[in-house]
Amino acid sequence: MSLLSAQGLTKEFNGLMAVEDVTLEIPEGQVRALIGPNGAGKTTLVGMLSGRTAPSAGTVIFDDRDVTAWPAHKRIAAGMGYTFQITSIFSNLSVWENVALAARRTVSGRSDVENAVNSSLERVGLIDHRSEEAGDLSYGHQRLLEIAMGLAQAPKLLILDEPTQGLADGEVAAFNQLILELAGTTTVLLIEHNMDVVMQVSDFVTVLDAGKILFEGIPDDVKANVAVQAAYLGGGHAAA
């Protein structure tokens, strides 16, 4: 059964088709990667799924409900977790409070919030930074904080927009581990540029090019597909 299903999603900006007639089915428990070259419309597509961008046409069904007309906050409250491509945190608040704000919407009671926050921070390895001001964290740590805020909401669908951008190699490995742990319990939609991450963690890959779906398949098929290589991967990278 699909947790998220999009039919005929289209976004037009003044005559420019950013996303054109995209149909997408994400079954429950799947880790789906969304890849494609810069400007392929990945962030626009995810914006329409999460409610940040209003579609020009098409419908979005989430958890058996038509959410097309819902504002973003209502979709999030219904169980979508969203992390920003450009880090968007509460810089002047502590790391702990950042995650607590994410947790408190779904969890109530002081000790439950505390547990949810601490476990999210532990999972991304930021627990030792809990009382620091979020703006003082390094860039990579801010990315991890974004992910922790996503985890703390215990979403049904976790949307990660380029989560590993700017992470060090060790942190990327830890991130892969984290997603593998989530797999099965949380459905994940991952926009990712790092092909190693895509190959390691995703169950299924959607390739977007010029606003349209170019190819869909399991990671190995994507690797082997000639059209994808031409559009995106480049010969050398695909072989790696």
Binding site: A72, H73, L101, R104
Partner: protein
């Protein structure tokens, strides 16, 4: 109870105890001033809920202050309401107007929000002048001494007046502290810090802002109604743009987003003008220079600076 919370309770409780005690030692002149400051500080505290904690800069709060003032005064002069009812009526009118303004003004943000709130306040001011037959326009009207008796206490008596002002001040303290400590208050701060992020955490930002405006308007109206009652005068000057700018100044000086800031800022500004006008007729020059210096060297206000340097836990 966490250590920070204990410190915060001690500090704010201590300030209230000091305010309570001061009435027994202050000479009559300062005694009257402090009563005035406490009521105006509650107005500033109401403003601070919106500006300091939610990050919405309104230039029209005089509308809410005047709604309380006129709601109370007109209820007495036109409908013969008793003191308690009139006070309640003023607060209710403030909350109602707050709700109406919020629904319309919150469709805008940033500079547009400032302008829209300013325009609403001007419309309110002109409405008061227009209905001069009831409001007596610029001239205003006096609340008869017989109407200034609340719970058997004559509020024109300085001691009672001080005590009532102190009570209003306590109400505003408790209200602000409980908002700031609540989950609701934490979401307001989140909206101030990063509205888009708060929305994408699933919070209905529009609803939170609406409630913040209504709360802020209600506390401002309470302060306006109390002011009219305590000092016996209701006039259109309290609805003028000047009274929208005052709370902004007081809050900026005292420290936006701190519970004590409004009180400190109001007292500071009050005595700055009071003392400098004793020295020279060009007192606004002195006040201006001091304000410029404060903005330069303590941009987060007096309490904001204290928090930055020493008291990180200050709510």
């Amino acid at each position: 109870m966490s250590g920070d919370m204990r410190k915060s309770l001690l500090l704010h409780g201590g300030v209230l105890v000091a305010l309570f005690t001061l009435q027994f030692v202050l000479p009559a002149y300062h005694h009257g001033n402090l009563a005035r400051i406490m009521v105006l500080a509650s107005y500033a505290a109401g403003y601070n809920l919106l500006f300091g904690y939610t990050g919405l800069l309104s230039l029209g709060h005089a509308l809410f202050f005047a709604a309380g003032l006129y709601g109370m005064g007109l209820a007495m002069s036109q409908f013969g309401a008793g003191t308690g009812l009139a006070l309640g009526g003023g607060v209710f009118l403030g909350a109602l107007i707050g709700g109406l303004v919020a629904v319309l003004a919150l469709r805008t943000e940033g500079v547009a929000f400032m302008i829209v709130t300013l325009m609403f306040a001007q419309a309110g001011y002109l409405t008061i002048l227009y209905f001069g037959a009831y409001t007596r326009g610029d001239e205003g009207f006096v609340i008869a001494q017989a109407d200034r008796v609340f719970l058997g206490q004559d509020l024109s008596d300085p001691r009672n007046r001080y005590f009532f002002a102190f009570t209003i001040c306590c109400v505003s303290f408790v209200m602000c502290l409980s908002v700031v400590k609540s989950q609701f208050g934490k979401v307001l701060v989140a909206i101030r810090e990063n509205e888009e992020r708060a929305r994408m955490l699933g919070y209905d930002v529009a609803k939170y802002k609406l409630v913040a405006v209504v709360l802020s308007a209600t506390l401002s109206a309470l302060s306006g109604a109390a002011y009219g009652l305590l000092f016996g005068y209701v006039g259109a000057s309290f609805a003028s743009v000047q009274y929208s700018i005052f709370p902004l100044l007081w809050v900026l000086l005292g420290g936006a987003g701190t519970v004590l800031g409004p009180l400190v800022g109001t007292a500071f500004m009050f005595y700055l003008i009071d003392l400098s006008s004793g020295l020279t007729t060009a007192y606004m020059l002195i006040a201006g220079v001091v304000l410029v210096c404060l903005t330069l060297f303590a941009p987060q206000g007096l309490l904001g600076e204290l928090r930055r340097r020493f008291w990180r836990w200050l709510p």
